[in-house]
Amino acid sequence: MSQEQTTAQEGQAAEAALALEYAIPPRQRFNPFKWARREPFGAFGLVLIGLVVFLSLAAPVLRTSPPNEFAVGPPLAGPNADNWFGTTARGKDVWSRVLFAGRISLKIGIATVLLGTLGGTLIALVSAYAGGAVDFAVGRIADMFISIPGILIALVLHSSISADLPDLPGLQRQELYLVIAISLFFMPGTYRIMRGTVLELREATYVEAAQVVGSSSFRIMWRHVAPNMFGLMIVITSISLPAAILTEATLSFLGLGVPIGGLDAVPSWGADLSGSSRRFFSVAPWLAIFPGLALAITVFGFNIFGDSLRDTLDPRLRGRI
């Protein structure tokens, strides 16, 4: 064997070793059962989320009465066969209110997170990729929003714009206000995280290669940078969602949320934990326990599911599902 042949063989072996070392594992079919075995808490979270979504969506057929209907049962009746979660001081059915309230929590939570995460990601993508003065200006605006307490933003918006907002299909004026207020609270944080990722991706070899072959900035952002932010976006979404639900409950508790009165009033867990109910918590603890438990279960479910999702989507663990 000549020296040339030997050198060639060694080179092939080295290339093969290199290829093996840097090989992208083959994409495997997602197996939910395997995933559930690996992430039992995440699976449990998903079950909880599914349960909450099911109960909220199927509320009208789950032995409920209209949530604002008076005298469905005796006033302040404890949990019983007719009223599983008891009744309020005006005889409203707590079971019905808890189920219907899930709708507003999920609706506000999802709308908020979509707007906050998508908005924050988009702003981060444009500003960080553009860099320079644009990045600087957007960064300072984000700093400004981060430095203002979220409750204060909600208060200002409540007194300034909430009355003038339009009713959108599926989103009433007061709900739209909540979505905007909570999104403004989350957007700067999302922007901060995403901006770092864009800065990192901007320096990647394949981005440089795309620049060399003459791809436009828009194409690079859309085709090469954005797809690589998707995993992180999912993780941020899953972590922000419970926080958004809690924020909605907090604002409703403070009277800044959905209207708690009126014929079309939408029950909310946060609102049901405040208002006139608070007066009777010590004589009727079910008024606090069931909305509080529903809120806690929902947030808990999203939290542990989001945690597992983060692990699953972590590139270092890719291919192990």
Binding site: P74, A77, F280, A284, P285, A296
Partner: protein, 635 residues
């Protein structure tokens, strides 16, 4: 290798992760909730008690008879009297005094006694001298700044001023000062374009004359049956003219009867020396007010009901601002407040077994009004349809957990004037959806009503629930879309009284919770004023004599004639007959406003250390004074 490991093996090697912490927290929270639910004890009792309450409420609603109401009122009064007697036993050798700790929901907006401002009565009652107090339930006048009065003829009232009184800065209280204080009210009313001091309190007075050093004479243009009771209000407090002119806010110049003009001043801050009452205002901040006893306060000799010669006994009044009733209740139960006069019947068990507090049952006497816009509901049939569309029995079951009763136009707290029985009231307050729809369809609407807006001020949760019930009941019975709009109280009042258009921007004005409330002793205040085409009927409900709707204008003239007749009738029995006719006319014509069922009783909480607090006095609107009251622990 790692693929062969299972989750649990890896878990054992890990430090406590965020996820583990979350899981642990979740389990702990669920466990705590379960323990809480389990430890709520009384589960059986709680379930049974409301059921029993409900059954009782239904029975009560079904048999809402006059006899039952009278029996209940008598029992309540008797029980209250017994408890009050026990609370009045003085400690013979103790020094009577103490600091009374009270609360209110917000800051006052002004302290001028002639202008109606909410949340200021603890100051305006205690820092000022009034002619006297009037106890409606006892029909009793107790002299304060006056030693007596005499109605010398049907149009002349003579006042005798208590000699030796002085304002807090030492200026003497003269007859001129008293005549000034009384006489400024109609002029202030004119200068401000109307206040809560309604014209019916003084529009029959030609002059307040300082006849001599201790005598003021009222000269009237016509007889008035309510004047003497009306003068018990804090509006008629004595003010120092010099202080008002030097420190007051200029409002406007008003034209007098003789063609001259007079500058009118309001006074909101009460600088020291403006008033002459038993207490001085020493602090007025965003957290509350503090009043301290004025040592040179005039003596009441001889002592009169609620007044004592060496009083007032209480050294200081501290009123905290607590916006939230739940917070106030917690403070009261913790022993940080002495009065909590809004106990909900459903929370009575919380107060039981607490030695330091005591809850008293008293007649409710409140009002839950639903005003109708005469601009839209000018046809009587439309108003009748609304009233028949409302489910009265359902309302009592849902909103009045300890029973309710139908509300007449005049309060039941005035039994010498309110003669309509519950049975008779039930003939008007009858839920009949079929008839309601027929009436609604037959009614004439110049302004079509496609959707009924119930308009209320935000604040009391019970107010919201009443409006919600109203909206639900009307929607169900009439098959029409309804909505509830709640705004802050100032916007509410402005829109309620807005007369820039022929119609209001609401349809039904909801106000009053009907779960508690006192009375001034006057039928106009309790609550004919709501129907009066000269007062709220005019400004709020478009039921007025100059209405563009012919039928409203004609009926207004009729009602005004009846109201003026009862105001001029000084004989109680004769007046009661007129008032009964007035009420029947109002109900027959479904006039302008209707009262929803009110609570039969209400509950007042007092700390056990309070003595001689005069339970009945707390039902007296506008003129609360009890200088014999004291606190045992501080003695």
């Amino acid at each position: 290798m790692r693929d062969n490991e299972n989750y649990w093996k890896r878990l054992r090697r890990r430090p406590v992760s965020r996820r583990s912490f979350l899981v642990g927290s979740g389990v702990a929270a669920a466990g705590s909730a379960a323990i809480l639910a389990g430890c709520g004890d009384d589960d059986d009792d709680d379930t049974a008690a409301p059921a029993a309450t409900q059954a009782a409420a239904q029975e009560q609603a079904a048999a809402a008879t006059e006899a039952a109401a009278e029996e209940q009122a008598a029992a309540a009064t008797e029980a209250a009297a017994e408890e009050q007697a026990a609370a009045q036993e003085p400690a013979p050798d103790a020094k009577r005094g103490g600091t009374l700790r009270w609360w209110k929901t917000g800051e006052d907006a002004g302290l001028d006694p002639g202008i109606f401002h909410v949340l200021n009565t603890e100051v305006t009652h205690a820092t000022m001298t009034q002619p006297y107090t009037y106890q409606p339930t006892k029909n009793l006048f107790a002299m304060d700044g006056m030693t007596g009065f005499e109605q010398v003829d049907s149009t002349t009232l003579v006042w005798n001023i208590r000699p030796g009184m002085q304002f807090h800065n030492g200026d003497p209280v003269t007859s001129e000062a008293v005549a000034f204080s009384f006489g400024r009210l109609p002029k202030l009313y004119q200068a401000l374009g109307g206040t809560h001091v309604t014209s019916s309190g003084f529009d029959f007075v030609d002059e307040f004359e300082a006849a001599d050093e201790n005598t003021v004479v009222e000269h009237w243009s016509r007889p008035n049956a309510d004047a003497t009771v009306y003068r018990a209000r804090h509006y008629y407090s004595f003010l120092n003219p010099r202080m008002v002119e030097e420190h007051g806010n200029f409002e406007s110049a008003v034209e007098l009867a003789d063609g001259t003009t007079e500058d009118m001043y309001s006074i909101h801050n009460l600088p020291d020396g403006t008033t002459s009452g038993p207490y001085r205002l020493t602090s007025r901040t965003a957290t509350g007010t503090r009043l301290e006893r004025w040592p040179d306060y005039h003596k009441h000799t001889p002592a009169d009901d609620g007044f004592v010669e060496d009083g007032p006994y209480i050294d200081a009044w501290e009123t905290r601002i607590i916006p939230d009733q739940v917070g106030a209740k917690a403070a009261f139960l913790a022993g940080d407040l002495d009065i909590f006069a809004s106990v909900d019947p459903l929370e009575l068990s919380e107060f039981e077994g607490q030695d330091h507090v005591k809850v008293y049952e008293v007649p409710a006497g409140g009002r839950a009004s639903q005003g109708m816009d005469g601009g839209k509901f000018h046809d009587k049939r439309s108003r009748q349809a609304l009233q028949k569309a409302f489910d009265y029995e359902g309302f009592i079951n849902a909103i009045r957990p300890r029973g309710g009763q139908l509300a007449a136009p005049i309060s039941d707290l005035l039994p010498h004037y309110q003669k309509l029985s519950q049975q008779e009231l039930a003939t008007w307050y009858r839920h009949d959806p079929v008839e309601a729809r027929a009436l609604w369809a037959a009614a004439d609407f110049i302004h079509p009503v496609e959707k009924i807006k119930v308009f209320q001020y935000s604040g009391p949760p019970l107010q919201q629930e009443i409006s919600d019930y109203m909206a639900q009941s009307l929607a169900t019975s009439l098959g029409i879309e309804t909505e509830v709009e709640a705004v802050d109280i100032n916007s509410w009042a402005a829109r309620a009284n807005d007369q820039s258009e022929d119609v209001k921007d609401w349809d039904i004005l909801s106000y009053g919770t009907g779960d508690s409330g006192g009375t001034t002793g006057l039928p106009n205040d309790s609550h004919l004023i709501n129907y009066d085409p000269r007062v709220y009927g005019y400004v709020a409900f478009n039921h007025r004599a100059d209405s563009p709707r012919k039928e409203i204008a004609e009926d207004s003239v009729t009602l005004i004639g009846m109201l003026e007749a009862q105001e001029a009738e000084t004989d109680v029995e004769a007046r009661a007959e007129i008032l009964t006719d007035v009420q029947r006319w109002i109900l027959d014509n479904h006039w302008c406003n209707w009262g929803l069922p009110i609570s039969s009783v209400s509950y007042y909480g007092f700390s056990s250390r309070m003595r001689d607090f005069g339970l009945e006095d707390w039902l007296n609107s506008y003129a609360f004074r009890r200088e014999s009251m004291w606190l045992e622990d501080d003695a």
